[in-house]
Symmetry: C2
DNA sequence: GGATAAATGGATATTTATATCTACTTTTTA
DNA sequence: TAAAAAGTAGATATAAATATCCATTTATCC
């Protein structure tokens, strides 16, 4: 339902949210989230351009969330790397129904908007806050072990 | 949100539903739905294996829906070519959380199930029945023009 | 039965997404 | 200010999805 790239982006952001205010290097994030390191750099750059993460070069540099985790929705992250776009016109682009979507694409678009809404209403903060019966987030090491 | 292949499959089925009981050849369906003809044959074969369409070889052969359009859900069609699968285990496959999904994949899975439900509750029949404000289905020719 | 029309199946080509590698620039700190 | 750590960017490789081609089989009509 989401691309591999989007999945990686979400893992990375979840990882950063787990260690807030802690600058993590790309290789560090890669090893924690089990994402190919060289690919992750690209993903992190995309997240940077979307202003979701801040990067710091040089010794002791790394990545940080650009704003609190509960102000970042899953949709923000997904859209940064692989946008979910509503269907705005029939892909068969026929003159006869101009701007209108045919019933088929209307339904498909409904589904897309449903998904958008679901991702928009879920924040990265929720993922790491572990309320109630939530399970451990992808086996990350404890904060104390990392810093 | 769905693959190109799934989109093609839906167009083909919608097309067949528009001309019920009429055997349409693959090239005919291709031209109506604007799907590459040689690719569509493969898609139609997949639909055949899933028992959604029946095929007839030879002169005056072609394809037909295997059952009434209102007994075919969009999910049936999508699953025939490109199944939507719930997440059953964390893709990082870590021992620590066994069968449990972490909060991230829990959310992603919620979205997948939401989509499944939406597609399961929409039938191909609905698409072509044009109730109320529905718009023309992808500019198909009138029935009288085709047979 | 022969000619024609149509689906089927296999091999192959093309495109896109995913992943890797390497050289380069920036920043920190000793 | 030099060395090391880290992000940046571009070129390239690999894998997967999409698309095409062609030979074969099946059915229908005359």
């Amino acid at each position: 339902m989401i691309s591999q790239t989007a999945e990686y982006a979400l893992r990375a952001v979840a990882c950063l949210a787990t260690y807030p205010k802690t600058s993590l290097t790309a290789p560090r994030i890669a090893s924690i989230t089990k994402v190919p390191a060289s690919y992750l750099s690209k993903v992190l750059q995309a997240l940077g351009k979307a202003r979701l993460v801040k990067s710091q070069r040089g010794l002791h540099g790394g990545f940080l969330l650009a704003r609190p985790a509960d102000k970042i929705s899953l949709l923000d992250v997904i859209d940064a790397v692989d946008p979910i776009r509503p269907i705005t016109q029939c892909p068969l682009d026929l003159e006869t129904h101009g701007k209108n979507l045919c019933p088929l694409h209307d339904r498909l678009n409904d589904a897309i908007m449903l998904i958008q809404k679901a991702y928009r209403n879920a924040t990265v903060g929720e993922l790491v806050s572990q309320t109630g019966k939530s399970k451990p987030l992808c086996d990350m090491p404890d904060r104390k072990k990392i810093s």
